[in-house]
């Protein structure tokens, strides 16, 4: 099958041509052979929750309109969506829990390879949990914080402590709606129980619990992951790096770290500097050891260490096809089982490491935090050994790379904005109030072969920039923006409207700010809370002239993320609709009625320019409600009143 990419970066296009020429199957081929995909599944009206079924609702109204138990399209679609949210929240929260365990071990075990890199942030986060910090040892505070964070997963009484960092008005609304998360795990278990045969049949009630699960993710599991990682691995500061296949080095042992966690890859990065290992690599004829990242492991390593990025989710097979990857080590999430097949066609050694993420037939070197260095060394040695198996004639590393600046966080970017010594959101709020900035947007999420790769991300982001909207980005959207040059400071002059250009020039930031991995969407929540706290733009996140988007969403995590943004009061637009369209009532609820209850809502729009315009209309609506000044400069998109 010959698939040509029309919009993607040149390196991906080159590798996909190679795939066609050498008859190597990729995600795009498998997507084609899967067509047409099941209409019942796409519409969310297939139920497999009990064995009186499986049941399907006829969307054309002629066949069955209820399952064997009597569940309607509304109930079935809501249950399915709620379970997707639970899946996504579980993925993030398991990540958070693993970090919390590593964190506790790091501060309890004197032989640990990890140490607290950001004592300053430790104190700030400890204060959220009401932990005394004055005059206490770092390790003492950290132990108490690790325990307290783990409490949030299985709390018996009260609510998720981390979520008390949301604006007060928001917390009050959650209480009023009955969706304040009690504990991270409990809400997920609740969903699984509630969607069992014969429990909750009210689609609105099911969705409320879906939002509660999602809040336990965004303001719980994900936020704990981000905060503890910052304390343990260092709080990111703006840092330069490069992205795309050109970061692989022909004369080096190339190790690609892929997945979502920094726990193992951070140690790999450290150990790869070991002179003995470098000497070993030289003995094998390489000039050194090169570590590069893929997906959100890349984002984690980029944010804190400036380690270059190989690519995003859809590039994982293509990276191996360069013939220059000596070892790809994976942790959790978004790792295509198909990697095994493509790795078999090249010399690349694929290594799984997580006890929760194995691939049959693939080498598994299980990672344990307490033996981090030994295991990292073993993995690097395997890569070095494998370098000699490289077939030089088959190495075809595309040259293209792009420069970028990453490392922005809810703390670092605004320390930048407000001056080196005192972080403040005043200049950002003032820029919005004065009409220099129209608003801000979070553009995040996956890549998906069901749309033209990268087109939606880039068109949507650049349309926002043109209209003086500052964009913050995470996950695969961030990698896509980086590859397309939107994260260079000078990108502002090419893409941004006049007002946004002035901000970028004054502060020296790119118009699209890289905030990190997908758990780091919690940084966006934190930023929104800080903007509210700074004052002048309303009392709640739902008052802010902001919007969120995930043009190429694909994972359950994306559904959880979208849900916690909606539940936090954000207008959230995605490309292909959620799989709920078989229920007209649920569709209306999530895209219209829910706004009156919670301040945020979902929207679906495949055309990226139209999606950007819908976001801008929402931003304008909020500006109007806040009675903000008219825009300082003429806007490219001025909707008709």
């Amino acid at each position: 099958m010959v698939k040509e990419l029309e919009y993607a970066d040149p390196a991906s296009c080159e590798m996909l041509k190679r795939a066609a020429a050498e008859n190597i199957e990729t995600v795009w081929d498998r997507y084609e052979t899967m067509q047409p995909q099941c209409g019942f599944g796409s519409l969310g009206i297939c139920c497999r929750n009990c064995s009186m079924g499986p049941c399907r609702i006829d969307p054309f109204g002629e066949g069955p309109q209820a399952g064997v138990c009597g569940a309607t399209a509304d109930t079935i679609a809501a249950r399915n969506l709620a379970r997707m949210i639970a899946g996504g929240a579980s993925a993030h929260s398991e990540h958070g829990r693993m970090v919390a365990h590593a964190f506790l071990m790091a501060v309890s075990d004197p032989h640990s390879a990890y140490e607290i890199k950001s004592p300053e942030k430790l104190k700030a986060v400890a204060r959220i949990y009401g932990i005394e910090t004055e005059g206490r040892q770092t390790n003492e505070i950290a132990k108490q914080l690790g325990e307290a964070a783990l409490e949030d997963f299985g709390r018996r009484q009260g609510t998720v402590r981390m979520a008390t960092t949301a604006p007060q008005a928001r917390q009050d609304l959650w209480d009023q709606q009955g969706i304040t998360p009690r504990s991270i795990d409990r809400e997920i278990v609740d969903i699984m129980g509630r969607t069992h045969i014969g429990v909750d049949a009210d689609y609105k009630n099911i969705m409320k619990q879906g939002l509660r699960v999602a809040l336990g993710d965004g303001w719980g599991g994900s936020m704990i992951a981000t905060e503890l990682q910052d304390i343990l691995f260092g709080s990111p500061e703006p840092i330069r790096s490069t992205a795309n296949f050109g970061v692989l080095r022909e004369d080096h042992v190339n190790i690609v770290v892929h997945g979502h966690e920094p726990i193992l890859s951070d140690i790999i990065a450290d150990v790869s500097q070991d002179t003995k290992l470098i000497e070993k690599a030289q003995e094998k004829g390489a000039n050194g050891i090169n570590i590069a990242g893929m997906c959100c492991t890349a984002n984690e390593m980029l944010m804190r260490r400036g380690i270059p990025v190989v690519g995003s989710f859809l590039q994982q097979e293509l990276a191996i096809m360069t013939g220059g990857v000596d070892l790809m080590v994976v942790d959790i999430q978004c790792i295509m089982p198909a990697l095994r097949k493509v790795a078999d066609r090249f010399h690349t050694k694929l290594v799984t490491t997580s006890p929760t993420a194995k691939i049959a037939g693939v080498t598994h070197i299980e990672f344990h935090e307490d033996q981090a260095v030994t295991i990292a060394r073993r993995i690097i040695e395997t890569a070095v050994e494998n370098y000699t198996n490289r077939e030089p004639a088959r190495v075809q590393i595309p040259e293209s790379t792009e420069r970028l600046v990453a490392g922005f966080t809810s703390e670092s970017v605004f320390r930048f904005l407000g001056g080196r010594y005192r972080g403040t959101y005043r200049p950002l709020n003032d820029a919005i109030i004065a009409g220099r900035l129209r608003g801000a947007a979070g553009v995040v999420g996956c890549s998906n072969p069901n749309v033209e790769y990268e087109e939606g991300h880039i068109k949507l982001v650049t349309e926002l920039l043109r209209n003086d909207t500052l964009v913050v980005s995470t996950g695969c959207d961030a990698i896509t923006c980086a590859k397309h040059g939107l994260m260079k400071p000078e990108a502002a002059f090419e893409y941004a409207g006049e007002g946004l250009q002035e901000i970028c020039r004054a502060v020296g930031i790119p118009p699209v700010l890289h905030l990190g991995s997908c758990v780091d969407n919690s940084r966006i929540l934190r930023t929104l809370a800080n903007v509210v706290a700074e004052g002048g733009l309303g009392d709640d996140i739902s008052d802010l002239p902001v919007a969120g988007a995930a043009p190429e969403w694909m994972s359950e995590k994306a559904v959880a993320i979208g849900s916690y943004f909606v539940a936090s009061g954000v207008y959230t637009i995605i490309g292909h609709p959620l799989p709920i369209m078989g229920s007209e009532n649920l569709h209306r609820y999530l895209t219209e009625e829910i706004e009156a209850e919670i301040g945020g809502k979902w929207a679906f729009e495949l055309d990226p320019i139209e999606a950007a315009h819908k976001m801008l209309r929402h931003i304008d609506k909020k500006r109007k409600a806040l009675k903000l000044k008219p825009m300082m400069y003429k806007q490219a998109f001025e909707p008709e009143e």
Partner: protein
Amino acid sequence: MKLMIVINVDKCLGCKSCEMACAVEHSSSQSLLQAIRESPAPRARVSVRQGTGYSVPLQCRQCENAPCVEICPTNALHRDDLESPVVVDHDLCIGCNWCVLACPFGVIRIDSAQGAVIKCDQCAQRVERGESPACVSACPTGALAFKTMDEILEEKREASLVLIQRGLSGGET
């Protein structure tokens, strides 16, 4: 060459993807997300039926000597030639239901919203574009296929050769 929609009953899982694809193909939007909101709702021309221990999609067999065409009082049911599918001219159809009664397979039915009968037209527009009928493309297991009579006969002959071979090697014919 006359093409037939043929069914391998062993492969049908009863998923009804063919029904859904057929309804979408015969909608005005031809897109799933819009088709489900159309009024009148688009109707499938194929229906998956349950037998004892098997399921099977049923649609018009495009009979050479079609009773529906014979009986139609207004010539609404017609075909261009013997190789083309039987189609309905909705302007001519008066909804008398004679064809419904005459059809030996029960695959013609009245669509009250249109006041006319509907039946499988073998997706004439898709076939003109060189594609298979929608039900055939949608079938995830290949239980539905679109083939010429010659191909079908050839496959049957090949299969019978295997039977004969087995019989010879087993000493029985």
